[in-house]
Amino acid sequence: MKKLNLTQLGNFSKSLTATVYHAQPRFTEEIIEIFDFARENGLKIAPRGAGRSYNDAALKGGGIVLDLSLLRCVQAWDSETGILRAQPGLTLESLWQFILSDGWWPPVVSGTMKTTLGGCLGMNVHGKNNFKMGTIGEHILEFDAVLPNGKKVTCSPKKNKNLFYGMISGMGMLGIFTSVTMQMKRVYSGLVHVKEWNVPNLESQLGALFRESPENDYIVGWLDGMARGTSLGRGQMHAANYLVEGEDADPDDTTRVAFQTLPDKFFGVVPKSKLHYLMGLGLNNLGVWGVNTAKYIVGRDKSYQQPHAAFHFLLDYVPDWEKSYGKYGLIQYQSFLPKETALDAWTEMLTISQKRKLPTYLGVTKRHRPDNFLISHALDGFSLAFDFKITKNNRAKLSQMVQDFDKIVLEAGGRFYFAKNSETSAETARAFLGAETVEKFRTLKKRCDPENLLYSDLYERVFAENV
């Protein structure tokens, strides 16, 4: 095995860096060598896809980061059935570019296309269609994995069922995916119909998600975290639908990769690779208030057609947007609440954030449904994700606030998502997952990884042994 270099790796939101040994296998066999190396040297391993988690999921300070981004081949593709088999390091970007011209699209995608299949499975990601299509795991037909105990396994919803439902959502802590077989969704155009409208407060925002979700393929809300009083939680909804067969006069054209590519200039002038510098200037309380207010005021009912990539991958629209949050980065705080308790809990949380002068610079709402995976964040309700800028002096205040939020969410029967929140404690994790789930996961862990070789900083934080 090649010598492992010490390096500094960070998370997506630029809020954390760790000193790690960087391992980048090119063949499945090399993963086993890395397990052996870790065992011999008393090192722990955190698997990493594209490193797009907002927290410590793909980091192990002082340990090995097993970077799977070079294992990225498409191994099989059937354009008749839409079944694809690929290695875990394949990004969603490469994936949709591979299949779209054949009239297929991934049934579930994250808000950025830079994520990898392995990472998406490890976190069991969802998209703006969670209420309809569930999480990505629901579209996995089968996967192969190599476990730290040396075994190679194949899992499907029928074969090695427990491991299937545990490894998908298992934060990479049970084994390493080596091959993933996934069912894609048939599309008849490279475009989607998009509708956009304003909602005057949180109640109408959640009402819109609830009412409109059965009627649409996708729905997502933008929430203005600065608006107060009767306008608290106001925002803008975006809903989208696939075009039906025959609706697009020239699907061969719209499903070309070039048609989907995001423009590289903003307003045709500012190169988008530089835009984050400009945005950085406005990312303070006053600037965000101005932008949010303007966005709300000019917002009106609109409908238009948009390429898939432009609708789905909003996070990629401004390259490196996360850098605009400055030197200390940002945290994302996402909570999932039952539809019955969401309004009260988020009203309280938004009010607290404004009172403490720590308003969220971006709020995003979605509609969800429960799933069968072992570590599940979803439920029959909604999610609201907040972005908070970290500054030199606000860490203690922010930390206190997210702890207070955790209490509100737990009391309201809510859940959390391990790809997003960075401060969730082991006690909180156990409270929302339930002791039974935690024990089930630990039992699987003992079977697959008796020596705890796979042990990311996230796992150490939320599954600490003494809780």
């Binding site: 939101s13 809020s15 954390l16 008393g42 722990k44 340990g63 960075s422 401060e423 900083d457 150490e460």
Partner: protein, 262 residues
């Protein structure tokens, strides 16, 4: 090699951690610096020979904050071969390494007209070779990382060869020179190398010494060192007035210096 069993908390964006190794931690400047770094939120690995003192210090720190901020390892710096195994182990236990501090040192009194090779050898083995055994692999890692901070506690005693303690002067002169050389290698990569030159500090090392002046507490020295670390300085004297004194002392011509009795 013994190690305390406590586990350090992992870093999060809202409670980021800095990781430091402090060699020569059990008393004096080392112990004061350990307290100071823990105050500043560092997670520190404390190394020294004397387990009892080290474990008391570790407990004091961890009790004070109600969480594990310090872990310790028993280590004799003349056990050079142990470093290759110990350093990666500590980096793993700490969860990273941002700062390395070498503070181990001995000063044997040999008497004005005495020559004692055994004592001299020990002085060089601890103060110089002990330092090199750590500084080299640490420098290699920081070079790879293109970040990090090395702090070497040398002494004003390294600036001239004096009648009182030739081997101590030699060991500290060599340590200062080695630190300077590391600085010249690493500074351009973004690695800071700080040479600390204390004057007289109220520690075990000077308890039998006479004719001391400007004696400062270990806490004062630790404060000066920490502030210099923050500012990423290259070299400090503690207290600062020694800089001027040593400028004069360094420039006293040999024909005069030979006649002096200190």
């Amino acid at each position: 090699m013994t190690k305390s069993e406590q586990k350090l908390a992992t870093a999060t964006p809202l409670s980021p951690k800095k990781h430091a190794i402090l060699v020569g931690a059990s008393s004096g400047i080392g112990a004061a610096l350990a307290h100071r770094l823990a105050d500043e939120g560092y997670q520190i690995a404390l190394l020294a020979r004397r387990e009892e003192m080290l474990s008391t210090l570790t407990d004091e720190i961890n009790t004070k904050y109600g969480e594990t901020r310090a872990i310790y390892y028993i280590h004799d710096v003349t056990d050079y071969d142990a470093v290759s195994e110990l350093l990666p182990k500590i980096i793993t236990d700490l969860g990273g390494l941002d700062t390395f501090i070498f503070n181990a040192g001995v000063a044997h009194m040999v008497g004005l007209k005495k020559y004692d090779f055994e004592k001299d050898r020990q002085t060089v083995e601890v103060n110089l070779l002990g330092a090199l055994a750590w500084l080299n692999p640490v420098a290699e890692r920081f070079q790879e990382l293109k970040s990090g901070q090395i702090v070497g506690v040398s002494s004003v005693a390294g600036e001239r060869g004096r009648v009182g303690n030739p081997a101590y002067n030699t060991s500290k002169a060599a340590l200062s020179t080695h630190l300077e050389a590391l600085r010249n290698r690493l500074d351009k990569l973004g690695v800071n190398v700080l040479t600390v030159k204390p004057g007289f500090v109220q520690t075990d090392m000077v308890k039998d010494a006479k004719k001391l002046f400007w004696v400062i507490s270990p806490e004062q020295a630790a404060k000066d060192i920490y502030e210099a670390m923050q500012k990423r300085k290259q070299e400090i004297y503690t207290p600062a007035r020694w800089r001027l004194v040593m400028f004069v002392v360094r420039n006293i011509p040999s024909f005069i210096f030979r006649k002096l009795t200190f």
